[in-house]
Amino acid sequence: MLSIVADEEGTMAQASAWLARLQRDDLTEADGLEFEAWLEADPTHRAAYRDALAAWQAFDTCADDVLEELAAQERRGARRPAPSRRWLVSAGGFAAAAALALALLPPMLTSSAAQTYATGKGEHERITLADGSVVDLNAETRLTVSYERSARRVVLEDGEAIFDVAHDAKRPFTVAASQRVVRVLGTQFDVRNRQGELTVTVARGKVQVEPADAAATDRAFVLRPGQRLAIAQTGRAQLQSVDPQETFGWRVGRLVYRGEPLENVVADLNRQFVDQIEIADPELGRMPITGVIVVDDQDAVVQRLSLMLPIRSVPSERGLLLLRK
């Protein structure tokens, strides 16, 4: 019974993927031929595609009316709490895909010119700050920047970013994340603050990481190029030598892992794609992965994963389920 449901959902996912692909701006005969091959591959494909098509075309004759209605709903619903709880129940984990667009939120009351930047799933954003410093934001990242006369302060609330900081000795540049402060001169480094774990990797210059609370007894660390500091949620710190370019790889869609548990790799991938990957059993999630994953097309990525580990994937309600082969 379960397998039939999974199959049906898989077919529906394929049908939707085809319909989306046929919307490409540069549609060619190759798309047509492959589409036909898929249609003919199984009699259920045609029916699923017609279902998807019906939903798609339902909007065609009344797109403007639907837009107007949406605008009207938004005006009425400005007071409404979080965007519809129904969604959470019906689609389970998909609510996680409720990502923030790059948003310029109103400045906080306490600070004169704080700006918040946020990226959603699969989004990378490069921001150039007033002093010429450049920050690359990874997916699902949120940070606040406030520049004052004698300080440049960034708060990395969640996520990962690479900072390329313009030198200005009179205005120290600090990044606060996970109860630590990263203090820099002119330098390039990556800060990652996810699930309570903080890592700082330095490519150039010198960086100091210290407890945000001056009274704390935790020690401070000074990092030099090629060093990475990882501080676990428990407070345990580990300093190691790394190739910074591996850590910076996400900026160009390359994730490099050395003995990283599969569950962490999957968590990274799930920030890049709409369809979410789940791991069937926890033991599988702990298997280590070493290698480079190029993040382009999700199917191709999963394909590559299955070459690194004895796993296979099946479609699931949220996206994909990884199973032991």
Binding site: E29, A58, A63, V66, E123
Partner: protein
């Protein structure tokens, strides 16, 4: 020509991806048929299927372009005929009932769109409802075209599930 009849339904489904309804797709299949009959009978077509899909893709490109022009003209005409505020009184009882049903349908569709996660919803609105190309949508949202296709795919899946019941 034989290839055409064997593949007629596939071609119809291919074309329907970009038309407003099945009837319009049928019209396009008919156009395709006329174009193929006009081809030189003796021409040696080595890959008939590829040729068919090439012609179908070209037909679609033209169709999408002229449909957009037509839609804009229709909208302009409607604004003029109806008056600035877009409201009009239905004349007969039957028309009134029809208008109520249409109203309800639009509310349903809008609610289904409103329930999509924000990024997916934005992609769907820009691409499907506002009629921007995938590339334009990608640019407006600052993400890759690939990502837009993923959002659209996921949106279709959700909407199909929601609207089926």
């Amino acid at each position: 020509m034989r290839a055409f009849f064997e593949k007629r339904e596939n071609l119809l489904l291919f074309l329907a991806a970009r038309t407003r309804d099945m009837a319009t797709a049928e019209d396009l299949v008919q156009d395709l048929y006329l174009k193929i009959s006009a081809l030189d009978r003796d021409a040696d077509v080595r890959a008939p299927a590829a040729l068919l899909y090439r012609m179908a893709s070209n037909l679609l490109v033209d169709h999408v372009r002229s449909a957009q022009r037509g839609a804009r003209r229709d909208a302009a005409w409607r604004r003029e005929a109806v008056g600035g505020d877009g409201t009009h009184e239905p004349v007969s009882g039957a028309a009134a009932e029809e208008a109520v049903i249409a109203r309800e349908r639009i509310r349903q569709l809008a609610a289904a769109v409103a329930d999509l996660p924000p990024q997916m919803q934005r992609a769907f609105r820009l691409h499907k409802l506002e009629g921007r190309s995938q590339a334009e949508t990608a640019q407006a949202m600052g993400v890759s075209v690939k990502m837009i296709e993923q959002h659209i795919q996921a949106a279709i899946r959700h909407l199909a599930q929601r609207l089926r019941t």
